[in-house]
């Protein structure tokens, strides 16, 4: 039986960390000032700290869920917005908006980013379905090549039209520009995550294959199409606001699945919570390490993520898809250290 204790522990950890993060930053802000009703303190809180926290939560939860959906639909553990050309397509979309629609608002850019991300993801999945790869690792490799090609086009266009400077803030993800009034698009991830929860079983069934879906009366193509679009839209709305944040969509669902399996209904909440915690912790690290300056989140996530990714690869190579069984369901909220021990059932 699945216990909800992990979910509860994750939720508690998230609330505590979120509370903490509100009071980390360049400008001193303390609870007493807020309680006194200090106008300046409230201004910082509402204009900067709270938006930043909300953006972080939406990013972490959203990117993790986007990765989870893509991994399920493609039934490949290494597919994600990073390794599936979604992020790079969204970036191309933003560049196109900057080039051909100079007066575009944030929403206008988001619209093009949505369209490009969806198109890029579909193209990638269509391609990997045509060519049935024997080796599961080939799929993300093709995805990385594919997204590098798209990234190449983006860079070329950016150089050609001298837009590299403007584009750079979407290439490396960071939260430092998140303030009230220019981040709200990222809220879109919340209804999209809810939608993913409603269709969780559909995604599972489609992940089990075309014949399997047909037998259960689930429209394979439609659900595949819809699921990928949800993933792409979540990713695009994050990229538009925060920029590219790699690895989360790859690492987080994998870590959660190691412990809780692949039934999306059972893992979606944990994946979202753990993703939010992961990004929150990385962000706090980025703000603390060289304070009062700030390291971009992409850097911290990139370092932590690549280490975890290598660990994950080794684990999969050694143990296949075997589960790690939690003997005691209360074994803490943060499952990361166990990965290195290679513990198993």
């Amino acid at each position: 039986m699945r216990s909800n204790r992990i979910t509860v522990a994750l939720a508690v950890a998230l609330v505590v960390l979120a509370g903490l993060s509100l009071f980390v930053g360049v400008i001193e802000l303390d609870l007493q000032a807020l309680l006194r009703g200090d106008g300046h303190a409230w201004e910082i809180f509402l204009l900067s700290r709270l938006p930043r926290l909300l953006a972080i939560l939406c990013t972490g939860a959203g990117m993790s869920v986007a990765g989870l959906i893509m991994q399920q639909l493609c039934s490949n553990k290494f597919v994600s917005p990073t390794t599936g050309a979604t992020i790079s397509s969204a970036q191309l979309g933003i560049l196109l908006a900057l080039l051909f629609w100079p007066g575009s608002t944030l929403w206008g850019r988001a619209l093009l980013a949505f369209a490009a991300a969806i198109a890029g993801t579909w193209a990638f999945v269509w391609f990997i379905q045509r060519i049935q790869f024997k080796d599961a690792v080939m799929v993300p490799l093709v995805g990385i090549m594919f997204s590098n090609v798209i990234g190449g086009v983006t860079s070329y266009l950016a150089y050609q039209y001298e837009m590299t400077q403007a584009l750079s803030s979407w290439l490396v993800g960071h939260f430092s520009l998140v303030i009230k009034g220019r981040y709200e698009i990222v809220w879109l991830t919340a209804p999209l995550i809810l939608l993913a929860f409603v269709f969780a079983n559909h995604f599972n069934i489609v992940g089990l294959g075309r014949d399997f879906s047909k037998n259960l009366g689930v429209p394979y193509n439609l659900v595949l199409f819809m699921g990928l679009s949800i993933s792409a839209m979540i990713t695009a709305s994050v990229v538009v606001v925060v920029g590219s944040i790699s690895y989360i969509g790859l690492i987080v669902p994998n870590l959660v699945a190691l412990f809780k399996g692949d039934q999306i209904r059972g893992t979606l909440a944990d994946t979202a919570l753990f993703g939010a915690i992961f990004v929150l912790v990385c962000d706090m690290l980025g703000r603390v390490i060289i304070a009062p300056y700030e390291l971009p989140i992409e850097l911290i996530v990139g370092i932590l993520g690549s280490v975890l990714f290598v660990g994950l690869l080794f684990y999969r190579l050694r143990n296949g898809r075997r589960a790690i069984r939690l003997t005691a369901p209360s074994a803490g909220c943060c499952p990361m250290p166990r990965l290195k021990e290679g513990g198993q059932a």
């Binding site: 039934s75 409603v198 589960a323």
Partner: protein, 250 residues
Amino acid sequence: MKIRQLTKRYQGKTVVDGVSFSIPKGKVTSLIGPNGAGKSTVMSMISRLIAQDEGLVDLDGTDVGRWKSRELARRLAILTQSNHIQMKLTVRELVAFGRFPHSGSRLTETDEAFVDRAIAYMELEEFQDRFLDELSGGQRQRALIAMVIAQDTEYILLDEPTNNLDIYHATNLMKTVRRLCDELGKTVILVLHEINYAAFYSDYICAFKDGRIARFGSVEEVITSENLSAIYGVEFQIQTVKGKPLSIYY
């Protein structure tokens, strides 16, 4: 279920050519024949996994391709051979998917009862919370059959269910097929390579050769040395064991 003039062509080559027969209700019918005789293709068309080029598969007066997919999923279940499940699901989670055509994502108490019964029927109680990738091939096959049982359809179609199973598991699987028919009143249609399994556990045999039906009838009518020699092109001897025709080929 009536099958009329079913035809399928792949790149100009006719792999199923005007196949017509009626599937007897509440019986076990096995489709046999050499490789490439078209039996699996027929099975796929009967279960609307692939569309036919001509002819129709008539279920209650409507071609299966015209049924609403989810409604048909409450009447007919198909288990193909390509079920190397890549996903880490528990046995119970898999079996519960069988209730999807009935209740969607929200399982009712009735659904849970169906799942319980299916798991008990396949004697999987002790494994129900284990992940599928921790089980043996035979146990996994049983879990898939349990899902089909939970789907609670009138028709159950199994494409080479004994593939990759050892003699113990394959024989047990065939006994289960018999029980599905005798105890639960299901109409079971199988594609089988192993003629003796077909002869011992089926009521009817439909033998295919070159995309057409070579023989269709009761086990005793079809399993004769002349018929089988003509279909497979090797010599057959038939002996009677427990009242059933046992074929020996060499």
